[in-house]
Symmetry: C2
Subunit: 331 residues, 2 copies
């Protein structure tokens, strides 16, 4: 709206220096950064999977955290949505709003972004950098899922929320609650990224597991707002009750019933996969989990809804579990 002060190299130099090279290459990218838009050639027989994720300083991460950690977390969290769909990662777009033009911050951010991009196999396809009073990071990730040629209607072989079936097992990957227990540590010392705090800044998007579960799992999602709340999404989308045996959930706190243990079940920032599968797939899932070097644990079962509204029925040793806290909602 008003010409910003521009004592330095300007937007174009900044983009060239930090965002033009060093990122994974994508075979599908016909035209990358530098024109009004990027051009991608979709591989034959593939569908496009896309998700946009926004993180705001001091809402989704500490504003004073080192820039490379902020970038790592932002891209990994966004990539988790591709894992949740079983999609093969392709690339991402970055919307970056910044209150300053500090070369060291930018350079740190770009180094974290490059490392996370390589980890996730995501090419940087484009974006927009703007000045604003607070750091806001929007990441649009995309990937591919195969068309399913076995059906008459155009079908897609992927992982969705609405496709779980009654009597399916319920599974989670990894260990639940690491991110939630790390949060107070990170708030106390935003620069700490070791030990438990590492789970906050370096969530592991389960991309290989997601791809492996295509055709095996009946439904899936990633856990970002808390296991028990997120399970409700599959319950409602699939019109099923999801009974979760909370004592079987692998949690960062193993003190059953404690406040820390409850935080694990309801806190956010896990970025593990919650998925459903028929019991005939138990061995296949164990094999995929071994291949992907991630634990997968059965934690419950799907059933036809007992009441009008599909529900998540959290149980502890066979008894209903009473939780004081629900998961995270932004609004």
């Amino acid at each position: 709206m008003s010409p910003a002060g521009n004592p330095g190299e300007g937007e174009f130099g900044l983009i060239r220096r930090h965002f033009a090279s060093g990122y994974p290459r994508s075979r599908d990218t016909w035209l990358g950064i530098g024109d009004d838009a990027a051009v991608i050639i979709p591989p034959a027989g593939m569908t496009l999977v896309q998700s946009l994720d926004t993180q705001v300083a001091d809402v989704h991460f500490p504003a004073s955290a080192p820039a490379w950690l902020i970038a790592q977390r932002a891209l990994r969290c966004a990539a988790s949505d591709l894992a949740a769909m079983g999609a093969s990662p392709q690339g991402f777009y970055l919307g970056l709003t910044l209150p300053h033009n500090q070369p060291e911050w930018m350079s740190g951010f770009a180094s974290g972004l490059r490392a996370a991009a390589h980890e996730c196999g995501l090419a940087l396809l484009g974006g927009d950098t703007t000045r604003g009073p607070v750091c806001v990071i929007s990441v649009m990730v995309q990937g591919w899922l195969p068309l399913d040629s076995s059906t008459n209607e155009p079908g897609v072989q992927g992982l969705f929320r609405h496709t779980a079936n009654a009597s399916d097992d319920i599974w989670v990957s990894g260990c639940i609650g690491m991110g939630a227990l790390a949060l107070p540590i990170v708030l106390n010392d935003p620069a700490c990224s070791e030990g438990l705090a590492g789970h906050y800044y370096f969530p592991q998007p389960r991309l290989a597991l997601g791809v492996g579960l295509r055709g095996i799992a009946s439904a899936a999602m990633d856990i970002s707002d808390g296991l028990l709340q997120d399970a409700g999404h599959i319950a409602r989308a699939s019109a099923l009750d999801l009974t979760i045996h909370t004592e079987q959930v692998p949690t960062a706190s193993t003190d059953l019933g404690s406040s820390a243990w409850q935080t694990c079940l309801t806190g956010g920032d896990d970025y593990e996969l919650l998925f459903c599968a028929p019991d005939s797939q138990r061995e296949a899932i164990a094999a995929i989990a071994r291949d992907c070097m991630v634990t997968c644990t059965r934690i419950g079962v799907c059933s036809k809804p007992a009441a009008a509204e599909p529900r998540v029925l959290a149980q502890l040793n066979g008894q209903p579990l009473d939780l004081s806290k629900q998961g995270y909602q932004h609004f």
Copy 2:
């Protein structure tokens, strides 16, 4: 990071109410809002064109402007990048950061967004709403361009910046400087959207013209940061000098040489197309312009660069034009 106060309907209710219906439908969308990601089936023989655009309150629009005008402008500006590529619009993702949860603001924003989406032919495919201290709007637009089967290498039939040729004519669509002259009016009264101010809030992405110019124009871009500055992008990308006869540019101020006239040439917010084409295409361009009901005006010519660095040579009645002001840079 911390559970936001949630006295109302929550994020999911908000998304359902404002973003789930009333937008254009896309035949290509297999799975829309409601899962971890959307799934799009690319039409056969088409490539994907994508651009992300971020606007920040009181940087790119007045924070106190009516929400429906903010939404109109945000989506139209983003869609202009598709016009610049000659792409057929498909859909968009919305990242919306807001300092409040005012139902009237949201409802106004959604009404403007829906109207602009219909105007541009863009389905709403997904997004993310977050709380933050300032309103930030990221819009990711996408569309399709045909693969060009006439070439051995995979080619794309679209409009790019790097493909202009020496002796090509230089053209602009519409009238230049409306947005720049509207800016002081809008800053004085952000709610004013009539007359000249309408050009600020309702820029016309030249989508039909862009599609029509495929195979006709040799290069194109949209003018967002000022005609003379933006022409430099084509000059550098195509390694050509661009001589612009400024007296031939259709400007909102016709007082040649005046400060207002200079503002037209260098101010931003035009969202008209700047394009190049061989002189053999003059009649074809006139016909396309008539079909699209937009004026297209020849304003200059491309040539091999006279110096090492390709340049924009702005002339007024055959003499070099000395401008005190360059276009807009955010950083």
